[in-house]
Symmetry: C2
Subunit: 255 residues, 2 copies
Amino acid sequence: MSQAADKVWTAGMVVIGDEILSGRTADKNIAQVASWLQVQGIRLTEARVVSDDMGAIAAAVNALRSAYDYVFTTGGIGPTHDDITVDAVARALGVPVVIHPEAHAILKEYYKDRPGGLTEARLRMARVPEGSDLIPNRMSGAPGIRHGNLFLMAGVPHITAQMLDGLTGQLEGGAPLISETVGGFIPETEVAEILREVEKAHEGCQIGSYPFFREGRVGSNFVVRSTSRDVLDSAVDTLCEALAEAGFDFTPGGI
Amino acid sequence: MSQAADKVWTAGMVVIGDEILSGRTADKNIAQVASWLQVQGIRLTEARVVSDDMGAIAAAVNALRSAYDYVFTTGGIGPTHDDITVDAVARALGVPVVIHPEAHAILKEYYKDRPGGLTEARLRMARVPEGSDLIPNRMSGAPGIRHGNLFLMAGVPHITAQMLDGLTGQLEGGAPLISETVGGFIPETEVAEILREVEKAHEGCQIGSYPFFREGRVGSNFVVRSTSRDVLDSAVDTLCEALAEAGFDFTPGGI
């Protein structure tokens, strides 16, 4: 029991799409999936962005699923020729691609009264690696796909949001990493030693320092993270005392 | 000559930072570096997001530099304890970390009249893997770092923008990938076959399909890419004809 309670659950993520690697589209799914995973008590440990290429997708999926407890992919599960995630993942898993009967039924219903009906292209969205379950998606007809600890989600961020919502509370995780932020117009160069000392004095606490330029002034937000509320509170208190002692103005919650 | 002209120049990217993997901060550097690379005739082929962990950073840098012509990193070159990119890259390269005399001089000058002067923490920003050159940064004192085909840039996007600006035209690349977009309130499921046919008929052209929901309606932008202006123009013309023939309204340039 105590071993299980201490386990840190980890996830890797594969973001699939030439549009991200060309710079055309700024990815929003890493932040979205990462935030959601935090709440599930699962730590996103690595993300890889790869192009719409069978070999690249399969290699990334295999590398991450051997390293982490869960793997999430986003992108490439739509109806067009550049949507090859299902095929690439099936190759990575060494299983065939099959039509999922429930996905077939969902799409049939969804396109029943829509122009064109269930075309061959649309039917592509019922294809899954053999052995998969579906992740419901209220937004469009096409469901996400779950194969063991591997989750294939949409590229469009608000469809992925729907799929994550459907998975909330379904995944085994550990204690969520919680955080508090303290910020101010404080150059991080002037408090580097304080941050280091506070982190060192609080086991299992991490402090990140995130500088910014705003209104012509430099400042920083300091994010303190821990899985323990006690450790977190103590670290934040110590940090605030040290900043005050050094003569800095700061704002709990960050600025 | 013709071999060199045909060579596709590639880059990998390592985004470093717990703030990205916690979901606190949405990465902007992948899109920024990717867009800049396109103009240099270099294709961003893979990006990895890793945490502030020596082993993870070093492993990603080594994996990507053996696979691609160039490697860019963003994040972790500031003055605080969580800025360990220089150490991790030095480990990956198997070289020691040294103080770069020119970086030292720049920081000395920059902090001459600033409160606190050049502290030990600030001096951290003059540390580089042995054998490095500097990448100028007009925005703050701290320069970026170049070691052969490896480029260490800031995590703050507008500082990285400055560093990229300083590198413009300095890197050997091939023909830039150029693109045209055609968009409309067209469900991608209804034109999947058209896209596939147009791409197949134009060698060296790729068509990406990017669906959206807007004003309560579904639509898509179709991005046609090629390194050849002729191929690109021909593919776009063929696509527009096919969309018109199928009865769709569309907007050149995308919507």
